[in-house]
């Protein structure tokens, strides 16, 4: 970030060194730390702000349906004549909010920022295996953001078929306005996004396998790296399937094929499609869609593991069990997609199979939750903002995860499928949890990224109000869902049956507005700290992992001299026989010191 990084010349490790210009340093950078920051700003901050703004507009519409609202008029323009939101744009907001948050913020933003920043630094590598691919990956992501944003401005509106874009709704411009040019741009944007994600994931996998420093065996990897590594593998396995689904959908839309369409009569005419099935699309979509949940969640859990151990001044409890449960979750995540389709018309026997595999995921999840709790037990908890967000994550992960037991049960899913119960469930377990992971990661590694500290008191303010709002929004939402209120309804004013949920809708919206507003505190803290934050020491949190052995000022190659060697696992906190309550990984074992068998 500062001028020192530019002028460093002590490049005695033989790393190739070019003269840096503004363009190569800040724009077309191949340095993993700069790319991480680019992902952070584009993916998390910019796309996050857009996504959250959309969710607030959705909430205001639900609380005060069909009422004029100056914000609608301002942001939606012709889509909110007289300030009253149009039903079409409501669905578009729901769709784009989902797409942005799931893919752009919590996949690209989260993995892009922290995998890029931490993989080389924590395994002791000079950079990613391919800095060039890494740069291409970011710029493809940037391009996909541009396409997505451009799609907001097309004549008939952006994609509005839900983030799951089930055909035929997404395939036929006759079915809704958003399925015209808006959907084309959505598909193009996602195709580019997937290419970016694949390049990134391949890079992460190769880097973790090949570039670990001396002594960094797989069983000494910090859990962050395990999580990023496994996430990348799931991504490589499942994202191509979504790409194929998107390509087939493009074929159906533009070239008259019938992969997903059959027997359609719409707007007074029979279409030529014959023999395809929307259920096939659902299978392809959820073959990515479910692993995607873990692509979002696992990095957050990895970040949490690291932060909870560091701030508890204790080893993470059950390292081996934690790794095993990450692997188990990853494996199971690829064979549970059918629980999104219990009532799609597929054979009920398949429903039984998917119920079985789905509920199995609760086991490794429970192991993780209990291990986090046990890590806190008899610790010496340092309540830094990152720690608060990590504890918050465990809390929402439990609350949100438990209702998965209901939704994963095919018999119970019949009645709560696609109601607000589902919305509450997945927002808590993957939305809020993963966002907490992002915040925890930013607070924790901000000194590593920008060489400065974030203000902790603002961090506390941010956490507590966010935490209360998150429960205030999503806890009552379960009950609205149990009343049978379907999701994606522009308003329920045509159903007197649901009139007794209207007060709850207002309460939820008020919490959402508070929660949304308090993110400004974070934004202020983030931006101000980049420029005026207190200068960070080398290892502010007294952490064991290698990234804190590198100089505060960023430099190509990460370490000025030799790469540190690793002699122990990452979790020797408060180890008896050591004076300090932490022992960095590069400190050799003293004579007679026993290394834990992990």
């Amino acid at each position: 970030m500062s001028e020192h990084a530019e002028t460093h010349t002590h490049d005695d490790h033989g790393h190739h060194h070019h003269k840096e210009t503004f363009v190569t340093k800040y724009i077309f950078s191949q340095d993993h730390k700069m790319i991480a920051k680019q992902y952070l700003i584009t993916g998390v901050i910019v796309m996050g702000i857009i996504g959250i703004l959309m969710s607030l507009m959705i909430r205001m519409q639900l609380a005060w349906p069909e009422k004029p609202n100056v914000l609608f008029e301002f942001f939606l323009g012709k889509w909110a004549p007289g300030g009253v939101m149009d039903a079409d744009i409501y669905l578009a907001l729901v769709t784009i909010h989902g797409t942005l948050m799931v893919f752009f913020v919590l996949t690209a933003g989260l993995s892009g920022t922290f995998s890029n920043l931490l993989i080389p630094l924590q395994i002791g590598a000079r950079d990613m295996a391919s800095g060039f691919l890494n740069m291409i990956s970011y710029w493809l992501f940037f391009l996909s953001c541009i396409f997505m944003i451009v799609s907001f401005f097309v004549e008939a509106g952006p994609a509005a078929a839900g983030w799951t874009i089930y055909p035929p709704l997404s395939a036929l411009p006759q079915a809704q306005g958003g399925s015209g040019a808006g959907m084309t741009l959505w598909l193009v944007s996602m195709a580019i996004f997937i290419a970016s994600s694949l390049l990134g994931s391949l890079n992460y996998i190769v880097t973790v396998i090949n570039l670990r420093t001396k002594g960094m065996s797989m069983t000494r990897l910090p859990l962050t790296i395990w999580a990023f590594f496994v996430t990348a593998i799931i991504g490589v396995i499942s994202f191509p399937v979504l790409l194929s689904a998107a390509l087939l959908l493009i074929m159906d839309r533009s070239f008259g094929t019938s992969f997903f369409l059959s027997d359609i009569f719409i707007q007074g005419e029979v279409l030529h499609y014959q023999g395809g099935s929307p259920v096939l699309f659902e299978h392809l979509f959820w073959f990515l869609g479910h692993p995607e949940v873990y692509i979002v969640l696992l990095p957050a859990l990895g970040i949490t593991s690291e932060i909870i151990a560091t701030n508890s001044r204790k080893p993470i409890f059950g390292y081996r069990a934690m790794v095993m449960s990450i692997l188990a979750i990853a494996f199971l995540s690829t064979i549970v997609w059918g629980h999104h389709m219990f009532i799609s018309g597929m054979n009920p026997f398949l429903g039984s199979v998917f119920t079985f595999t789905t509920l199995l995921i609760a086991i490794p999840s429970a192991v993780k939750a209990f291990n986090y709790i046990t890590t806190l037990w008899k610790g010496n908890l340092q309540m830094n903002p990152a720690m608060l967000f990590s504890i918050g994550l465990v809390s929402t992960f439990i609350t949100g995860g438990l209702t998965g037991i209901i939704l994963g049960d095919s018999a119970l899913d019949i009645n709560v499928h696609d109601t607000y119960f589902v919305v509450a469930h997945f927002h808590l377990v993957m939305g809020i949890s993963a966002l907490y992971g992002v915040f925890a990661g930013i607070y924790h590694w901000f000194p590593r990224m920008f060489g400065r500290m974030m203000n902790k008191n603002l961090g506390y303010l941010h956490f507590w109000i966010t935490a209360i709002s998150a429960y205030g929004v999503f806890f009552p939402m379960h009950f609205i869902g149990m009343a049978g209120l379907p999701r994606r309804y522009y308003t329920n004013s045509n159903f007197p049956l649901f009139d007794d949920t209207t007060n709850a809708q207002v309460v939820i919206t008020v919490f959402a507005l508070i929660g949304g507003t308090v993110q400004l505190v974070f934004l202020y803290n983030f931006i101000r700290s980049i420029f005026y934050g207190k200068k960070a020491p080398m290892n502010p949190w007294k952490s064991n992992t290698l990234e804190w052995t590198a100089p505060v000022e960023h430099m190509h190659g990460n370490w000025p001299g030799e790469i540190p060697h690793v002699h122990r696992w990452a979790y020797d906190y408060s180890k008896p026989g050591h004076e300090d309550d932490y022992v960095p990984q590069n400190v050799p074992l003293y004579d007679g010191e026993e290394e834990l068998q992990h």
Partner: protein, 353 residues
């Protein structure tokens, strides 16, 4: 002009928040502040953790008091709904026990072990017995839930043709529902959207030459005789829809190009349900809320007074008016049903020649 003013106001609010945060920020400057948690911070946040735990419990209780009387776990109007409800209640009980217990441990530990200078944490990295305990307890509990769930699922989805169910087609289109009764032969006539002929009022695309189709009856309200098994055949003519009948714990997607099915037996007539004390209370509550919003509701041209009815809702995003795609369901006695049915026109007679 409005847009301009709005921009200014939003801008001012943002600046105001920014400034307030800045004052808060600058007020911290005096203290020695390296932005790492001190004992004071640990203590404060430790206590807040307990406060937060209480908040979680409070919001749980508040939700149960104010929103807990929702119908989806009680007053099922179908036979299989009772099985689903008891599974739901058992799952809920398990969930709430685990939720209350784990949230307590998490927040209590966060409070109890808040950091103090000079204290050293316990170096405790592993314990296979503990890991085994919290692997096997979930295994056992989940095994129970899975087995119970699978039995319920197969009993719900199993359609027993020998019980002679009345066969009804649910036909979905943007943005309304139609029901097609199979008529006296209880066999639905062949149909395909390619045969739709709006001019002749053949709106569901029935095969006019199929003898089974002649006595089919197409309606815009769904009437069901009580205590008689119904087998629904779902069809959609344009996009995905989902036939959601929450009171009967029934839902199935309607997929263009294929026929899906779901069967159940309604057990409580609409008239009986209206007398159910829970429903009476709910309706009174809703009407009180509606009375407060009288003008708004009348401006929309809706009836002010709400009376309970079973509903079929669309529960799969299907386009602009997805939020208003519904059909009234009337469950009635066999005699009432037959009387209603005799008033309906069959397909043969409804065609315009």
């Amino acid at each position: 002009m409005t847009a301009f003013l709005t921009t200014i106001i939003v801008l001012f609010i943002a600046v105001a928040i920014w400034q307030m945060v800045k004052i808060f920020d600058l007020a911290q400057l005096g203290a020695s502040n390296d932005q790492v948690a001190t004992d004071k911070d640990n203590k404060l946040n430790g206590y807040l953790m307990i406060g937060f735990l209480i908040f979680i419990y409070a919001i749980t209780i508040a939700c149960f008091i104010y929103l807990g009387d929702q119908p989806l776990v009680s007053n099922s109007a179908s036979e299989h709904g009772l099985e689903i409800d008891s599974l739901m209640i058992i799952s809920m009980v398990v969930i709430f026990i685990v939720q209350i217990f784990t949230q307590f441990l998490l927040h209590y530990f966060a409070f109890k072990y808040r950091g103090e200078k000079g204290r050293k944490a316990l170096f405790y990295a592993d314990n296979n017995t503990l890991e085994a305990i919290w692997t096997f307890i979930p295994v056992i509990v989940l095994a129970g839930l899975i087995i119970y769930g699978l039995f319920t699922w197969s009993s719900v989805m199993n359609i027993d043709e020998s019980e002679d169910p009345i066969i009804i087609e649910l036909y979905a289109q943007q943005f309304n529902w139609k029901a097609r009764y199979a008529g006296e032969d209880n066999t639905l006539g062949m149909a395909n959207v390619r045969l739709i002929d709006i001019d002749r009022a053949n709106i569901l695309g029935l095969d006019e030459s199929d003898p089974n189709a002649q006595d089919d009856v197409i309606t815009t309200e769904l009437h069901l005789p009580v205590n008689r098994p119904v087998l629904f055949k779902m069809r959609s003519q344009d996009v995905l829809h989902s036939a959601y009948m929450p009171h009967f714990r029934a839902q199935m997607n309607c997929v263009p190009g294929m026929i899906t099915q779901f069967g159940f037996t309604p057990t409580i007539t609409t008239a009986e349900m209206r007398l159910n004390p829970d429903i009476v209370e709910k309706v009174a509550n809703i009407n009180a809320i509606r009375a407060d919003k009288k003008e708004e509701i009348e401006a929309r041209g809706q009836e002010l007074l709400y009376e309970f009815d079973y509903l079929l809702l669309c529960n799969k995003i299907c386009g602009k008016s997805h939020y208003n795609m519904q059909m009234k369901i009337v469950v009635e006695t066999e005699e009432e049903f037959n009387a209603w049915m005799s008033e309906q026109k069959n397909f043969e007679n409804s065609l315009i020649n």
